[in-house]
C-alpha cells in the first residue's frame, strides 16, 4: 500500500505501511541531501505557505528548506503579527488563503485540533507542524527515521520517552508511531507531568528514572517548558534535574549502545546534561535535525503526488 492520505494531520490515522513508505523516501532524500543533490523538479510550480500561529525557528526553517530543495515557491507567514490580531477567525483566515490557491499549507497552531479544522476548509494539502498538545507528526517521523538509521530497524525496540509528556505533542505522536511499529514504549516522568488516562495508551509508566531507563535502546528526552518549572508542576528546576535530568549516571542504566534523542530546543542542565547532549557516541540530536528536512521533503513530495493525481482526475472528469 502506498501513501494515500491527502493531508498529514497526525500519526493517529496513518497506516504502518504508509509510515514505512514515507520513511523509505525520506531515507533517499537524506542521502541526496548529504551529496548536495537537490530535486527542484519535485514541487516545481507549487506554492507552499508556512503559517505559524506560534513561534518556531527550527521547524519553520526546516519546512522552508525542505520546500526549497524540492523547488516549491515558499512563503512564510508570521500569523501572530497579522490578521489574528485584527480579530479574524481561523476559518476566515483559511478561506482567504485558500482563495490564493496554495498547494501545500504548513500550519502550527496553539490549539489542539485547530489544524484539522483548517484542513476541512481548504482544497490544498495541509501539513500539521504542531497543534496544541495534540500532534506533531513530522517530528515523530523524523525521530523514527533517526532511530531506524541508528538501530537498523524500527520494531521490537525498547524506547523510553522522558519528561513532560502531559504538555507534549511530540510525545503523543511518538507514542502512537512507535506503538504502531510494534515497539515497547516506556514513559518516564513525575506523575504531574504525565497525562491522565495514560495507563490506557499501551505504554509502561515509570516515575523512577533509573528503573525507567533500564535496558532501553533509545532514550528520548522532552523539553520542559520554562513556565511549568516553578512550583506548578514540579517543585524546582534543580530538583527536576536531580530526579529526571539525563546525566551519565542515569544513562548507564540503559543499554550500552542506547542512543539519546531530544526534539530541541534543549534546556541544558534542566532535562539533559550538556556533556551527554554533545557526546557524539550517544547523542543523535544533530542527526534528528538533519532528518527533519528529509522527512519533510518526503511528506510534501507524497502529498503533492496525491494532490496532483486528484487534480488530474478532476480535470479528466473522473470521480475520486
Amino acid at each position: 500500500m502506498a501513501f494515500r492520505a491527502s493531508h498529514l494531520l497526525g500519526i493517529e490515522h496513518l497506516h504502518p505501511t504508509e509510515i514505512t513508505t514515507l520513511l523509505d523516501l525520506a531515507d533517499r532524500y537524506a542521502e541526496d541531501n548529504r551529496l548536495g543533490r537537490p530535486h527542484r523538479d519535485v514541487l516545481e510550480g507549487l506554492t507552499q505557505i508556512n503559517m505559524f500561529f506560534e513561534n518556531s525557528t527550527r521547524t519553520q526553517a526546516s519546512f522552508e528548506i525542505a520546500g526549497k530543495r524540492l523547488g516549491a515557491d515558499v512563503m512564510n507567514m508570521a500569523m501572530q503579527a497579522s490578521s489574528i490580531k485584527k480579530g479574524e477567525t481561523l476559518i476566515d483566515t483559511a478561506l482567504s488563503l485558500n482563495a490564493m490557491r496554495p498547494d501545500l499549507l504548513v500550519v502550527r497552531h496553539p490549539n489542539s485540533g485547530a489544524v484539522d479544522l483548517l484542513a476541512q476548509k481548504v482544497n490544498c494539502a495541509v501539513l500539521n507542524a504542531g497543534d496544541g498538545k495534540h500532534e506533531h507528526p513530522t517530528q515523530a517521523l523524523l525521530d523514527a527515521l533517526t532511530i531506524r538509521r541508528a538501530k537498523g530497524r524500527l520494531h521490537r525496540l525498547s524506547i523510553a520517552i522522558c519528561g513532560d509528556v502531559a504538555h507534549s505533542r511530540v510525545a503523543r505522536s511518538n507514542i502512537m508511531l512507535l506503538g504502531k511499529m510494534e515497539n515497547r514504549v516506556r514513559l518516564v516522568g513525575p506523575p504531574t507531568l504525565l497525562p491522565s488516562g495514560i495507563e490506557h495508551f499501551g505504554v509502561e509508566v515509570f516515575h523512577d528514572m533509573r528503573e525507567g531507563l533500564k535496558d532501553v535502546d533509545v532514550v528520548m528526552m522532552l523539553r520542559l517548558q520554562k513556565e511549568r518549572m516553578d512550583g506548578g508542576f514540579i517543585p524546582s528546576e534543580r530538583e527536576y534535574f536531580h530526579r529526571y535530568g539525563l546525566d551519565a549516571e542515569k544513562l548507564s542504566y540503559a543499554k550500552d549502545d542506547a542512543i539519546v534523542m531530544h526534539p530541541g530546543p534543549m534546556n541544558r542542565g534542566v532535562e539533559i546534561d550538556g556533556t551527554i547532549a554533545d557526546d557524539i557516541n550517544r547523542s543523535v540530536i544533530q542527526e534528528q535535525v538533519e532528518m527533519g528536512v528529509a522527512v519533510r521533503m518526503a511528506a510534501m513530495d507524497l502529498l503533492a503526488r496525491n494532490l496532483r493525481a486528484k487534480r488530474g482526475a478532476k480535470a479528466a472528469g473522473v470521480m475520486v
Binding site: L90, G197, H200
Partner: protein
C-alpha cells in the same frame, strides 16, 4: 368547550401507569370523563402524556436575540412537546432586577407559544458578590434563583444567599463544580482528553462541588436543586444528602444521558458542553440514577449558540447545545434501550420538575391544566439541523436517527402545533 381525547395510551407519571383510555378536557383543564364532548380527538393508540416542564432553558433575549428569541424558543418547545419552559437568567444583561424580569415576562407573554416561567440570578450580575433582591424578584414572578453555570465561590456570600432564600421560601438552583480544578477544561480528563491533547477536568470536581453545597445546605436548610449531576462519583453523596432529609433534588441534561465523551471525536464543537460529556460508565450510572429516582429531573439544558461561536478550535468554541426539539426523541432512546419505561420518563420530564416548582401541571389528574403532549414513540426520523425551529442550529444530533415524534402539543387545552402551522 369540552374536548375528549380517546383511544390514547395515557402516560400517568404520578400513578406510574400506562393504560389505553380517554381523557376529558374542559376550558383548559383536565376534568372527570363523564358527559358529552364538543370535540373528540382520536389519538389512534398513540401516547398522551403531561407536557414537558423544562428547567434551565436559555432564551437569548435580552442581548442575543439572533441566537434565540421567545418566539423561536416557543415554536421549538411546541415542536418538542414542551409546554412550560423555565428560563435561565444568564442573558446579557443578567436577569437580576425586577425590571429586567418584567421585560422577560412581557416578551414571553406576547411572543411565546408555551408557558414561560423565568428564573432570576442569585447574585447581582451573576458575579457571586451580592445577592439579588430575592423578595422583589419573587413578587415579580421568579420561580427559582440561579447563577447558572457560575459557581458562587465565596462561601460566605453563598451561605447568606441560601439563608435569605430560605426565609423567602425561594428555590435555589446551583451548578456543582469545583471551579479551580475545572478551570480551563474543555473535556473530561482521561484517555480521550489526553489523546486529543485537550485540557480536561477530573470528574471529581463535580463531587467536590456537591460536597461543599451539601454542607452549606445542612447549615442553612435551604431548598436546593442541582442543575446537572453527570458523574457516578457524585451519586453516593447525593443519596446520603437525600436520606438525611435535606431539601435537595437533582437534574441532568439530556445530552449527558445519551452521549459520551467519545462523541466529540475529531474536535466536534457541537458536542462541547458544560460540564463536558463524560465516560460511558458515568453515563450508564447516571441513567440508572434517573430510573431509580435518585436523579429527579431531566432537562434539555437548551443553550443556543450561533455558528460563529462554534466554528472555532475546540478549546475556544462556546459550550452548549440546543435541545428543545430533540429532548423527547433523545430521551425516548432510554425507553427503547430498556433503561426506563414511559411513566418513569415523564416523571423526570414533567411530574418532578412541576412538583419541585410548585406547579399544578405535570400530571394527568383532574384539575390539572391541560398541558399535554401527544406523541408516537416509534416513528423514526433522521434529524436535519437546518429544519430545527430554534434560531440556532447547534445540535449534536444532526444526521442522527431519532425514534419518537411529537404529533401535537396542547397548552391549556389548545393545540399549539396546529395553530403554529396555520400561522
Amino acid at each position: 368547550m369540552r374536548i375528549l381525547f380517546e383511544n390514547a395510551q395515557l402516560i400517568d407519571p404520578e400513578a406510574g401507569t400506562q393504560t389505553l383510555g380517554s381523557l376529558m378536557v374542559e376550558d383548559g383543564f383536565i376534568v372527570d370523563g363523564g358527559g358529552a364532548a364538543d370535540q373528540t380527538i382520536d389519538c389512534r393508540g398513540k401516547c398522551l402524556a403531561p407536557g414537558i416542564v423544562d428547567i434551565g432553558v436559555k432564551v437569548s433575549e435580552p442581548g442575543e436575540r439572533h441566537k434565540e428569541s421567545f418566539a423561536s424558543a416557543g415554536r421549538a418547545a411546541v415542536a418538542g412537546g414542551i409546554t412550560t419552559i423555565v428560563t435561565r437568567p444568564d442573558t446579557i444583561p443578567s436577569i437580576d432586577t425586577p425590571e429586567t424580569l418584567e421585560f422577560v415576562e412581557r416578551r414571553a407573554s406576547t411572543d411565546a407559544a408555551v408557558n414561560v416561567l423565568p428564573m432570576a440570578a442569585l447574585t447581582k450580575e451573576r458575579a457571586g458578590r451580592e445577592m439579588t433582591e430575592i423578595g422583589f424578584l419573587m413578587d415579580a414572578g421568579a420561580v427559582a434563583f440561579t447563577d447558572c453555570d457560575r459557581v458562587v465561590t465565596d462561601t460566605k456570600v453563598f451561605s447568606r444567599a441560601l439563608t435569605y432564600a430560605k426565609s423567602c421560601g425561594a428555590l435555589v438552583i446551583g451548578h456543582v463544580q469545583e471551579p479551580i480544578l475545572s478551570k480551563g477544561a474543555a473535556v473530561t480528563s482521561g484517555k480521550f482528553a489526553s489523546l486529543r491533547g485537550l485540557p480536561g477536568v477530573s470528574p471529581m470536581a463535580e463531587r467536590m462541588g456537591l460536597d461543599r453545597d451539601i454542607a452549606l445546605l445542612e447549615m442553612t436548610g435551604a431548598a436546593y436543586h442541582i442543575d446537572q449531576i453527570t458523574t457516578s462519583r457524585a451519586l453516593p453523596a447525593l443519596e446520603r444528602a437525600k436520606a438525611n432529609g435535606l431539601d435537595i433534588t437533582a437534574g441532568v441534561g439530556i445530552h449527558h444521558l445519551t452521549l459520551n465523551e467519545l462523541d466529540v471525536a475529531d474536535y466536534r464543537t457541537f458536542f462541547k458542553l458544560k460540564p463536558p460529556l463524560r465516560s460511558e460508565e458515568d453515563r450508564l450510572t447516571v441513567v440508572d440514577a434517573v430510573a431509580t429516582g435518585l436523579i429527579d429531573i431531566i432537562s434539555s439544558m437548551h443553550t443556543p449558540q450561533d455558528e460563529e461561536s462554534k466554528r472555532l478550535p475546540f478549546e475556544e468554541a462556546a459550550s452548549g447545545a440546543v435541545a428543545l426539539e430533540t429532548l423527547l426523541p433523545a430521551a425516548l432512546r432510554l425507553v427503547h434501550a430498556g433503561h426506563l419505561d414511559l411513566p418513569q420518563l415523564f416523571r423526570a420530564l414533567a411530574f418532578n420538575p412541576a412538583k419541585r416548582l410548585g406547579l399544578s401541571c405535570g400530571r394527568l389528574a383532574v384539575g390539572a391544566p391541560a398541558d399535554l403532549v401527544l406523541f408516537d414513540p416509534d416513528a423514526s426520523l433522521k434529524l436535519d439541523r437546518f429544519k430545527l425551529k430554534s434560531k440556532s442550529k447547534n445540535t449534536p444530533f444532526d444526521g442522527a436517527m431519532l425514534q419518537g415524534k411529537v404529533i401535537a402539543t396542547y397548552v391549556g387545552g389548545v393545540n399549539k402545533t396546529e395553530s403554529l402551522t396555520d400561522a
